[in-house]
Amino acid sequence: MAEIVTLAEAISASVGDGDTVAMEGFTHLIPHAAGHEVIRQRRRDLTLVRMTPDIIYDQLIGAGCARKLVFSWAGNPGVGSLHRFRDAVERSWPVPLEIEEHSHAGMANRYVAGASGLPFAILRGYRGTSLATQTTGVADITCPFTGETLTAVSALRPDVAVIHAQRADRHGNIQFWGITGCQKEVVLAAARSVVTVEEIVDELRPRPGAVVLPAWAVSYVAAVPGGAHPSYAQDYSARDNEFYRDWDAISRDRDAFTAWLEANVFGATS
């Protein structure tokens, strides 16, 4: 049953050194504040899992929290490179980063398998690509009914899922809407989960297209208004596209990045 706690308590109780952590949110509802709290608590040797590492993992990687990254598209959307990610892969700074790389369809299906309690998922994908030769957890599989060759991808079962949602009620039931990505799947695939929310309300009123996760499927809930910034929460905030553009210059230079981290993450409290 979900416990309603502070963000610092939620991260401290659920994320340990060496854990496999999946912070999801597909452009929308990215749990940035929770990412900052993991950096502040100086977690190390994490395996970070996320379809689009985006700025949130660029920060965690640059802060030295990650040993391995499991992902499918590592760019700053519409802007260019993730420079901290590239510095880690190309020059091992601040620490070497192992990578395990998939396609979006593969990652989405790996979460579905994890949520479904299955060891793998099946899709049409990867065949003929170099990904199939570089990535573990991808294999050919023969359909027992038609004999067709398809692709199996191994299930993702993170230790911890971290997401941001618009609302929770006082019992810890969660509601989010707009672009909902694969957040339902990642929470159900993980052993534990942390959900930050824009607000905690007395009653969750039904909304068209909203995903509801019952309190008993969630571990920790913390109210963090604006906790997705520079991502956004539909009907609460707009995507801060200017910050995404600014991040290019901040992240390009190790010193500029470190100064930004000191001022905006270590200098701030949750």
């Binding site: 959307p77 190309e90 396609s103 299906n109 339902k184």
Partner: protein, 249 residues
């Protein structure tokens, strides 16, 4: 009205989309061209972004594939597993519109890395995203990228998304359900695969462009069609619509 090579590339790419088609759109040049098509000759073009937004109708260019304007204007917003499994994979989408960092003569696409060592790449690029399955499953694939020795290479450093693999029959052997790339649109012209050999052939060139320049900007000995056509210059209306989209971004 005078125009740049990037502008005629965007206009040519937009013209490749017919009204009423369904189009799976990547960010960057593909998104710009698809939105230009919607703003000009194809108001009923159905834009589908991998964020799960089906039938998005943005009036400004989104920076990402998940900007709020896409969800707010979409006919339907579905989860990410659903967009790939239910909508893309079965071959429901007419056109997949992709970018590339490197392309070879068989239209194989690299968006993963530059260099010959996967573990230590010279330049690490973003990677696959939705592209491999878009390239595999759409009824038609269009690739848009700037043409140079850097981008049009003899051998791609990594096959992120399969075009025609090693040539005729490869897609069938691999079990790829869509027919593959039908058109590559660059800032120098349009290339199409030869139906027999699957090798890219220069079929259209821009006004004032030279075949020699296109060949010199290609990392292999580029074949040129006997029926090389000249692409019409962008109209004032097309340029105005493109600049309005970019200006509002």
């Amino acid at each position: 009205m005078s125009y740049t090579s990037d502008e005629i590339m965007a206009v040519t790419a937009a013209r490749a989309l017919a009204d009423g088609m369904t189009c799976f759109v990547g960010i960057g040049l593909p998104s710009e061209a698809a939105n230009l098509a919607r703003a000009t000759h194809a108001p009923n073009l159905v834009l589908i972004y991998e964020s799960g937004t089906i039938g998005a109708k943005p009036d400004t260019l989104p920076l990402s594939i998940g900007d709020g304007i896409l969800a707010e204007t979409a006919d339907a917003v579905v989860s990410v597993p659903e967009i790939f499994n239910y909508w893309l994979q079965p071959g429901r989408i007419d056109v997949g519109f992709l970018g590339a960092a490197q392309l070879d003569r068989f239209s194989n696409i690299n968006t993963t890395l530059i260099g010959d060592n996967y573990a230590k790449p010279r330049v690490r690029l973003p990677g696959a995203g939705g592209a491999p399955e878009i390239a595999a499953a759409c009824r038609e694939v269009i690739v848009v990228l700037r043409q140079s020795h850097r981008t049009f290479v003899e051998t791609v450093d990594f096959i992120t998304s399969v075009g025609y693999g090693d040539g005729p029959g490869a897609r069938e052997r691999l079990g790829l359900t869509g027919p593959g790339p039908k058109r590559v649109i660059t800032d120098l012209g349009v290339l199409q695969p030869d139906p027999r050999t699957c090798e890219l052939v220069l079929t259209e060139i821009y006004p004032g462009g030279s075949v020699k320049n296109v060949k010199d900007s290609t990392g292999w000995d580029l074949l040129v069609s006997d029926d090389l056509a000249e692409i019409a210059a962008p109209s004032d209306a097309e340029l105005a619509a493109l600049r309005a989209l970019q200006g509002a971004a």
